[in-house]
């Protein structure tokens, strides 16, 4: 059984951490107190930089470095907390929002202090109505005890936090689209540079950090940079929540030390495969990540090991597919997702996404042709790397990886005019 002691998931499911009295009794806000009385903003930032915390939202950019890009030119600066979790297969930020909102607030206030932001926003996915209500209650409680607001805990530091609800758009999880959305426009990503650190929200220096990232900041300040840096691989350290779903016995969020083998995550944490099933494929980092297979089960779950396998850790959405899953069906589901979520700015994403989704849907329905297969095998070059933001680059990785690994399964859909897998499972069931 897995033995890693949870850090940011500690206490979830045991007590009501959204209650400020419960949270305080467990030591909540003691780190913020320490920071406000004993630490300068630069000292806080230095610890985060030294820990080598990498962003938990998907891109894995070092958090301390992101903060360091803010120009010291006296303009107002903003911290935006990205709680627009919508990467298929990922459900950790929603859990953190609903189950431990005060931990998020504590991490957020410490981070805002470190970067000198007096105004922060949290962008909460529109579908998370319940989470946004829980968060607002937690925020009001934290404000009433002066953990936010004017002159926090008697210091010179003041912070206002505005809750902004999304209204349905996956792309608003991309940081510049999120800034556009907060400014009241269509959530269309901006051309970078300039990066948000230079010209972000309302044109001002801005840092966008993920929910999970901000939660870890609190613990890094409490336990020290070296504690964090020594967990997992040197260049990809720390704990991370993996959201495991699909064909496993115990789907759920699991906080792991980065670097453990994929096999351990499936077998030890998520209870293994369903009885009598065989692994067929898994996605390590959400819908945008290329699939890996049985021969890859020893790969380390961390940013660099997965990148070396031409896939990614992403946001930690780990989806397991066993031998009852039809790869054409899985690819159809995911290509339809990207088709639906394209903002439409870039032609390769808007048009390419539509055509790819149509071709894969045709194949699944048994109406595809050899020509469809040929096009799907070469179209990667014209879609990937030709868009403003990563959404367009996310259309092809899963499809290309399963097309390469299971060419016969795709070909069989053309040859038989139907899904060979479903026929087999129907007989077995």
């Amino acid at each position: 059984m897995a033995t890693f002691e949870p850090v940011i998931m500690k206490g979830i499911g045991e007590s009501d951490l959204a209650d400020i009295d419960v949270y305080e009794r467990g030591g909540g806000f003691s780190v913020l107190r320490k920071v406000m009385s004993d630490m300068t903003p630069d000292a806080v930032a230095a610890v985060v930089t030294e820990s080598n915390l990498r962003g938990r939202g998907g891109a894995g950019f070092p958090t301390g470095r992101k903060w360091s890009f803010l120009p010291k030119d006296g303009r107002p600066r903003y911290l935006v907390c990205n709680c627009d979790e919508a990467e298929p297969g990922t459900f950790k930020d929603r859990m953190l929002l609903e189950k431990t909102p005060l931990q998020l607030i504590e991490g957020l206030v410490i981070s805002a202090y470190a970067m000198g932001a007096k105004q922060a926003y949290i962008y909460i996915r529109g579908e998370f109505l319940e989470g946004s209500r829980i968060f607002r209650r937690a925020l009001a409680a934290a404000q009433s005890r002066n953990y936010l607001g004017d002159r926090i805990l008697g210091s010179d530091f003041s912070l206002d936090l505005v809750v902004h609800r999304g209204a349905g758009a996956y792309i608003c999880g991309e940081e510049t689209a999120q800034l556009e959305s907060i400014e009241g426009r269509r959530g269309e990503p901006r051309l970078k540079p300039p990066f948000p650190a230079v010209a972000g929200l309302y044109g001002m220096p801005t840092v966008v950090n993920n929910v999970e990232t901000l939660c870890y900041v609190k613990h890094i300040i409490e336990r020290g940079a070296q504690w964090f840096a020594k967990i997992g691989p040197e260049k990809s350290p720390g704990p991370k929540i993996m959201s495991v779903s699909g064909h496993v016995r115990q789907p759920g969020n699991y906080e792991i030390p980065l670097g453990i083998p994929a096999r351990e995550l499936i077998d030890e944490y998520a209870g293994g495969l369903l009885p009598g099933r065989k692994l067929k494929a898994f996605q390590p980092g959400g819908a945008s990540s290329a699939a890996l297979f049985e021969e890859d089960l020893d790969v380390g779950i961390d940013f660099d090991s997965l990148a070396a396998k031409r896939t990614m850790l992403g946001s930690g959405g780990f989806v397991v597919m066993d031998d009852t899953a039809c790869m054409v069906n899985c690819a159809r589901t995911l290509t339809r997702f990207f088709e639906h979520e394209s903002c439409g700015q870039c032609t390769p994403c808007r048009e390419g996404g539509q055509w790819v989704a149509r071709m894969v849907a045709r194949l699944e329905a048994g109406e595809g042709s050899q020509e469809d297969l040929r096009v799907l095998n070469v179209i990667n070059n014209t879609i990937t790397g030709t868009n403003l933001c990563p959404l367009g680059d996310s259309i092809m990785p899963f499809l290309s990886s399963v097309l390469k690994r299971f060419p016969d399964e795709f070909a069989a859909h053309v040859a038989h005019g139907a899904c060979p897998i479903k026929d087999v499972t129907a007989v077995v069931a």
Binding site: E85, A86, E87, P88, G89, T90, F91, D93, R94, R125, G126, E127, F128, L129, E130, S132, R133, R136, V162, H164, R165, G166, A167, G168, A169, Y170, S181, I182, E183, G184, R185, R186, G187, Y202, S243, V244, S245, G246, H247, P251, G252, N253, Q283, A287, G317, V319, M321, A325, N329, C330, T333, L334, R336, F337, H340, E341, C343
Partner: protein
């Protein structure tokens, strides 16, 4: 614009450095009251934040949780993305559509139910899942859906799309 709506609009505008940031929150507020984003709400929003009604329409059309036509008193949104599909979402979708007598993006003749297949709801560990008026329901089966439907029919409808 009604005085009440204008007052709420001013509250929302005051939250932000620039008025336009209040646009979507204002439309969410109007939708909560009217059931969808009406033409009048878009005109009011344009006046409130100082852009044209056409721009408001363009922005509103971008967001899937802003309904531009009456949808239903009960908005049923069933996940259709990978993790739910691996756990039987397709069969569940077929069952719910039969039960409600409507298809994807359709409203029942009595205006009560609206059905939509939506992208990942971030509840993949409890698949298949759905939202009813943005409230989560997990591990949904045909039998548990029947019970949900009974409870929805018995309860007085709250706003289908609450603003906050």
């Amino acid at each position: 614009m009604t005085p009440e709506r204008l007052a709420r609009g001013h509250e929302l505008v005051a939250r932000y450095p620039r008025p336009q940031s209040a646009l979507v929150p204002f439309l969410q507020y109007c939708q909560e009251q009217d059931g969808y984003v009406t033409l009048q709400a878009m005109r009011d929003a344009a006046e409130l934040v100082g852009i044209t009604p056409g721009e408001v329409e363009s922005i509103a059309s971008f967001y899937t949780l802003l309904f531009k036509a009456p949808a239903g008193k009960h908005i049923v949104q069933v996940c259709r993305t990978l993790s739910c599909m691996l756990r039987g979402a397709e069969d569940l979708q077929a069952y719910i559509k039969r039960r409600l007598g409507i298809g994807h993006l359709e409203t029942s003749a009595d205006g009560q139910y609206y059905y939509e297949e939506v992208e990942c709801l971030a509840a993949c560990d409890r698949a298949p899942c759905l939202q009813h008026n943005l409230e989560y329901h997990y591990d949904v089966t045909p039998a548990s859906f029947d019970k949900l439907l009974d409870s929805w029919q018995a309860s007085a409808p709250a706003p289908a799309m609450p603003a906050e």
